[in-house]
Amino acid sequence: MTDLNIQDLQVNINTGQETYYVLRGVTFKVPAGAKLGLVGESGCGKSMTAASIMRLLPKNATIVKGQILLDQLNLINLSEKEMRQIRGKRITLIFQDAASALNPLCSAVQHVADVYARHISLSRKESLHHAYELLAKTGIPKHLAHNYPHELSGGMSQRVMIAMALGCSPEILIADEPTTGLDVTIQTQVVELIERTVEEIGSSLIFISHDIGLVSEICDRIVVMYAGKIVEAGNREQIISGPGHPYTTALLHSFRAQPGKRMPFIPGRVPDLRIRQEGCSFAPRCSLADNQCWHSEPKLSEISPGHEVACFHMDK
């Protein structure tokens, strides 16, 4: 069982003309066997965090500072060759748009077999045999196993990816918005499948989503991100019943639309990541913002065991 420990991760993206400060000091822990949910709006840096852990950042991105500790191993310092031993074997990433993450020229079973054969050296024939089993476990029967990605629905493609992840038996499974774009009924099935898979392998889970409601159903620990920083981290009960950060509160409100009443929303826009402004990044959209918030940046501090908030006005 492995711990994942991310400390003060800072990542920049350089487009040649401008610099985007996508991650501005991300710190959180994923204890062994935990199910952690990473929540936030689009553009807050959740996928970047996942990409950083896997060291699959785009070419123009640089890790400026920080550590990603897999037990005692710092992933930032590893070479590409060493990273390849980690990817798939110890940490696996499930993509958002599963259909585009599959090779259009390979059938479902070929995908699973290739990944299985890579991590558990077997002959082609034997890996195929295991591949059929893995696909069956995720709900893809044998007669569909030979389908190509364009012949599979979004939900089925996601099952293929989960089968590939199953085959790896990783210590940590990162699911990057695995249900976005799928029908609600399929969403539930996929989420259940992920839960089952994680329990069967015995791995930790990082579930990335913008849907805090969905995350609260699966994960026992929730981390909230905004503008490249962690603004709140805590257990499910702590976050859901007693959120400390105004952003978390607003998020929870948005997902609890009351019948008959106007749908709540958070006013304002996601901040421009090219600017490093003074003070709290959420201040322009925060109803509690005061002079202190505009000029100094709140740090993550523990307000109760296991519950950290980065705000000067917590639990108001």
């Binding site: 980690i86 993450a101 599959l102 259009p104 020229l105 190509y148």
Partner: protein, 338 residues
């Protein structure tokens, strides 16, 4: 894919090919009849009116157009593609004699261009954004702007006139060397098979310049296609996913090559189809006795049946190449089998 699916796919493509062939024959028929009476194709401009009338009747040119068209198609199918007033041979026989020369030139040009275009294209894609990549793209675009016939002349000037490295552009082999026995019709291959080294050396030396010229004119398309397809594949989500699942870089390279195979093979088939007819100007510059040179030579002697026949043949070959490239694409990429 099941046999039944393939049969349906092929039947559909064949039907399309058939329609296009009809269209080609109609177009050629219209062009040859557009000036009124194509009798001049057969008798030349300066025949007496009696001969003209006699020929008109003999060749059925006084019958209604659609009847003439039917007769024309029947003639084509029977193998009667006209007679050359210049060589006194049936045009098909002339074409048969000269086709191997064009094939030899086209095949070698294609092979040469593949030899450098595909590896360089792949390298450029892997090194995307680097100075090497920009240089490669610049050279490819420059080569695209160069007219083939002019390039041939420049190369002749450089390698023959100035530096005397290669022989004069006067045909496929030195006139004082005996030709090897004809097996394939390609002199270089035949010399190799007959272990005739002087003939082999001479024929290669004559083949280099026209083949290189032709290769340079077709390379840019292949190179840029390889590079752009490879670039798209390397940036695609599934290559990223393959890396995310820890597949070795060898596997990733294998995946990406597999994914560019379809478009590249298609391009190769189309290029070969194009080269058969597209080499005409190079053949003229190098006096290479292929079907293109034959058509132009005949035309310069006011003999028009050959050029019409060669146009028809090249159109047929091109469309056949198009069909084959579709089949290749379907074999490689399951999405193209619709």
């Amino acid at each position: 894919m099941t046999v039944w699916k393939w049969a349906k796919f092929l039947a559909k493509r064949m039907a399309q090919l058939f329609v296009v062939l009809i269209g080609i024959s109609i177009t050629i028929f219209i062009v040859t009849h557009a000036i009124g009476n194509p009798v001049y194709l057969i008798v030349g401009q300066s025949a007496t009116s009696e001969v003209i009338q006699e020929r008109i009747h003999k060749f059925g040119l006084d019958r209604p157009l659609w009847e003439q068209y039917i007769a024309y198609i029947q003639n084509l199918l029977k193998g009667n593609w006209g007679v050359s007033r210049y060589t006194y041979n049936p045009v098909l026989v002339d074409i048969q004699n000269r086709l191997p020369a064009t094939l030899e030139l086209s095949l070698f040009a294609l092979l040469l261009s593949l030899l450098w275009s595909i590896p360089i294209g792949v390298i450029a894609a892997f090194k995307k954004g680097s100075l090497l990549d920009s240089l490669i793209q610049f050279l490819a675009r420059l080569a695209n702007s160069v007219p083939g016939f002019w390039l041939g002349l420049v190369l002749i000037f450089a390698f023959f006139a100035k530096f005397h490295l290669l022989p004069a552009p006067l045909g496929r082999i030195d006139s004082n060397i005996a030709m090897p026995p004809k097996i394939t019709g390609l002199i270089t291959i035949d010399s190799l098979l007959a272990k005739n080294i002087p003939a082999l050396s001479s024929s290669i030396r004559h083949l280099i310049l026209p083949a290189v010229t032709l290769a340079i004119t077709v390379s840019p398309s292949i190179l840029l296609l390889t590079r752009n397809t490879m670039e798209r594949v390397l940036e695609s989500n599934f290559i990223r996913a393959a890396r995310a699942f820890g597949l070795s870089s060898l596997t990733v390279i294998r995946y990406s090559l597999k994914n560019i195979l379809g478009p590249v093979l298609t391009m190769i088939a189309m290029t070969l189809g194009y080269l058969i007819g597209g080499s005409v100007l190079i053949e003229v510059v190098f006096a290479w006795p292929g079907i293109g040179f034959y058509a132009v030579d005949a035309m310069n002697h006011s003999d028009y049946e050959p050029i019409v026949a060669v146009v028809l043949l090249c159109a047929l070959v091109y469309n056949l190449a198009y069909l084959i490239s579709d089949v290749i694409a379907a074999m490689v990429d399951p999405r193209a089998r619709l």
